[in-house]
Symmetry: D2
Subunit: 343 residues, 4 copies
Amino acid sequence: MSLDVAILGGAGLVGQVFIKMLDAHPTFRVKVVTGSRSAGKIYGRHVEWKIWGDMPEYVRGMEVAPTEYRYLKDVDLIFSALPSEEAKKIESYLVSRGMRVITNASTHRLDPDVPLIVPEVNASHLEAVIERYQDGFIVANPNCSTIILSLFLKPIYDEYGLDEVHVVTMQAVSGAGYPGNPSMEVMGNILPFIPREEEKLERETLKIFGEYKDGVFTNAVFRVKAQANRVPVIYGHTESILLRTSKEVEDLEELKKILLGFHGPPQEMGLHSAPGNPIHVVDGPRPQPRFDAFREKGMAVSVGRLKVYGDGWISAVIHGNNLVRGAAGGTILIAEYLTKALG
Amino acid sequence: MSLDVAILGGAGLVGQVFIKMLDAHPTFRVKVVTGSRSAGKIYGRHVEWKIWGDMPEYVRGMEVAPTEYRYLKDVDLIFSALPSEEAKKIESYLVSRGMRVITNASTHRLDPDVPLIVPEVNASHLEAVIERYQDGFIVANPNCSTIILSLFLKPIYDEYGLDEVHVVTMQAVSGAGYPGNPSMEVMGNILPFIPREEEKLERETLKIFGEYKDGVFTNAVFRVKAQANRVPVIYGHTESILLRTSKEVEDLEELKKILLGFHGPPQEMGLHSAPGNPIHVVDGPRPQPRFDAFREKGMAVSVGRLKVYGDGWISAVIHGNNLVRGAAGGTILIAEYLTKALG
Amino acid sequence: MSLDVAILGGAGLVGQVFIKMLDAHPTFRVKVVTGSRSAGKIYGRHVEWKIWGDMPEYVRGMEVAPTEYRYLKDVDLIFSALPSEEAKKIESYLVSRGMRVITNASTHRLDPDVPLIVPEVNASHLEAVIERYQDGFIVANPNCSTIILSLFLKPIYDEYGLDEVHVVTMQAVSGAGYPGNPSMEVMGNILPFIPREEEKLERETLKIFGEYKDGVFTNAVFRVKAQANRVPVIYGHTESILLRTSKEVEDLEELKKILLGFHGPPQEMGLHSAPGNPIHVVDGPRPQPRFDAFREKGMAVSVGRLKVYGDGWISAVIHGNNLVRGAAGGTILIAEYLTKALG
Amino acid sequence: MSLDVAILGGAGLVGQVFIKMLDAHPTFRVKVVTGSRSAGKIYGRHVEWKIWGDMPEYVRGMEVAPTEYRYLKDVDLIFSALPSEEAKKIESYLVSRGMRVITNASTHRLDPDVPLIVPEVNASHLEAVIERYQDGFIVANPNCSTIILSLFLKPIYDEYGLDEVHVVTMQAVSGAGYPGNPSMEVMGNILPFIPREEEKLERETLKIFGEYKDGVFTNAVFRVKAQANRVPVIYGHTESILLRTSKEVEDLEELKKILLGFHGPPQEMGLHSAPGNPIHVVDGPRPQPRFDAFREKGMAVSVGRLKVYGDGWISAVIHGNNLVRGAAGGTILIAEYLTKALG
């Protein structure tokens, strides 16, 4: 099967990762790329390429369309990399016209009818949209730091239960989009605040780990407390985690085995963008952005510095690629799951 | 009163801060500077100045002495900036010869007869050495991150009590001494591990907040869990804190007032190196190394991002100068207290 | 004597350095600070302080005025830190109303009636405005890299003459103003281009070293070729210089002596902001931004790595503070000269 | 044909790039890896991987040998990544035992019987060793910055002749090996000095562009003046060039065409590691380390900011990968040429 797709906000940083990852994709063909300032211009001439590698050939000659329904009505699926204010203006309207939107924008993540999906964690929530596939829908990709955290938490949640999760993030500047943080603000410095990031971590995680039943999403009941920092790193978010499980973790080796053995539907279904192992356990003074941000092409989360405190708490440092697993890659993986699930 | 002092390890990074801070000091006159590789050489010709400002005039012509008793026996007080292995070889011996050593080395911090002092927090522990002042003794300055943490915790401990403290550090490279971390290891990267740092935070804090009674130090009973990271910052350690108090903090403004009003013996006694306010409460996306590492000449701790969770936990981001308050400055402040207390 | 002054564009990066340097200035009292986005707001509440140190007390309560004549008509002297497009709109008009403008903007630097001044180099060009002091005028402060270069060239030009100057700059991000370069653009990277910078170096230098006679500025006749790079440094521009003198430099020590002995009118007149020595000759792997950007409060240029090739060419690395000597400080020094010269 | 090779100094930074580039190489099979501190240990367990990507499987189980003849005598070819002092001790001895050494060390580069080779520039110099192939020999890979410069100069030299070359380098920290520059020395800073680097650029270039005739290497006669800087970049050296040709360059477009059309023996012979185009001409504010260090797997040089001054001088900014084209990759390309040339 081959589906025609559109990328909304395709000139931005996340938009460029979509363009990169959909180059020669086995299922999705990019038919439309939209933008605001770049609308009406030729992508290859107007858009400055900001991410790793070179701009794919296929997009160079494409004319950037305005983000409007009439340019989108013929595609099968829409990937949205819009800023949240712009997403607010258009995404619901597109659904009202029967379109299928898989979005990286934060706008609708906590809407009562929008599944918030990390495919290895809660693919079953997609049932909510499969029911009304023909009518159009939004599926939301969570916040970047939340996705990385959720992948790490999932096998622990299943085995031990979760009571309290404390997370301190050290996030790369590419997470702020482009231009993002001025160089004077970040070079040789730490910014101990990222607008709305802590709330996203604290709330989205609970929806992801919650239930979908009888048309209603219910939150999970553990607590998440988050502190977010911006650090002078280009790619990859690091998170220092302290968490208390419901059932005490007694053995570090057993914990490692559970993390290493973790698989979800994307692995079982052999989805194109799925990492072979969603979680890599790394030894020594790791994970580090320089070495771990692009594990499995940026789709795997690296876990290191595991400690069992013996009083119910364990700690770890985790790392993931904010632009790939945390944004475009996670969104594409949702689409791959949905497409395969629908047959 | 004027005392002659020696600086052990005066060519290193912390040694240089001692030299800087003792330039024109009202009480202490530097008579001896020791070193290993630089022994026998003229300080101003041989030692490369690695910290802010220029090398003080007074030290330029001094010949660096080997770190041996015979070069030290005539001074009144010894400041040690030795690496821990070298401290192990010499500090106890100096005491056995009746000398007074105030050390930044980690070697003896947990020794049963060594007070581990942050003057605003537990100056009363110095009673242990005042009793045997003429016989010689060691007083230890705690780990840099621990000092910064302890200053922040003190007013909270006194008002609310402490139950559990979670701290994630983001530490400057100057904390690793010189040469310290290779540039390839740190630039654009995060190192999620600093050897022995987490243990220091977890143990030293409890000794500092413990009691000294009948010749015995007893640890405080709350719990500290620490995760230490090295970040590409030159000066200043940042710490993300989540803590649970014994008595719940109900009001953020009250908490701020308590932090702002905090004073200890150094302020009351008007010690030369004491900051006017040991704790600065900062608003907005602060504290930040660029703006806050040198508050009150590096002797004050900055506290920001205060949050009250309502379930017993509160969070904050704190920042302090690792080389000043966390090393040379803290050590000098101990000496100033001791000198004044002894009259 | 005391003069009332205004700072145009006082919320920007250079504007903040003006505000800092005019705190407690012996001659100039800041009466008006203007801005565009901040107009009508209280400086201390609205403007984020972006440079070293703290915001001076005197400016905190001031209301930012719009950059219009009616708010400026009562001051004696105007310092302009406006962006060049805004300078174009207002500076000439102010002169037409009889005002005296000393500007850091590039707009009028090459105008036939505007002196372009580095006080140690060509203070005599100010004769052009002293003649018409009561009528109002513009005096321009040169481009930051050009000022640093000119100070280094002056004693060489006087002693040996200049034939050809090749300069490669490595410029700090603060030179681009705020927000300036996005962090993703500069961190761990080199940008080999700064818009219009090379032309400024190539042209302005010749006007500065030219003559003013019979009301006409004539360019000097040597050649300058410039290549400008942006580097991940916060404060301080470094320049690698290769130059060919008219009369061959034969002796390195003589060259050093000439550089060290260099003084100009600001030193002779004892101007408040004048560095004791405009040129510092530094040994070893120097100058470096970390150590040399703030020599003599940022007003001196550091020169190192001097080499005499023996075929007419010599090379050097020079460094200066782009925001102080290269912008606000240079501009204030011009005003100090003018004020003193007028008695 | 398949040859057994050894890598001397295989645990260092350049050694690791050799190991990476020889993974699955069509001609060379790594049989021996030597080291000093790691001798006797298993590579995969003892050596920390410091460069991009993961440690190749083939080397993980290998035992590191001491750098001694008896461990090397059975291989066909030796690649040396030794530090220069160690190279001095062993390389000549290996030749005396009839071995073939292709070295990245600087020790023998200017020896009268050692060809100093950039295959696209002066492969013909290899005649010197082909004559005595069976007796053993050293061929030297030039200094990293020199290789990058030489590739750029070659087509210009052939078309216009060269008179004077001025080069200012901005070199990545990986060029200093590991641990190399301490982070405090380089972060947010520029070091305007790299030991012996300027002399290497000034001398090696002339040997490369010289002649080999009747057993004697004669230098080219143009002049090179170099200023070397270390900058906070991980991979890739940038060089600002100003040069005067013998025959004036009149047309920028013609110059670009000549650079773009440049090919040498490695391209004609289709050597495995040869870049398709040794020179890439890039537009806009380029080349930049972030985008250009890995062009053609790090084997191509990027050239941008070309300017024709009209008085005989032209300028450009060039960039190349110091570890690949400037070290291991250049050395391997020499070996590939030699192997093919010998049939």
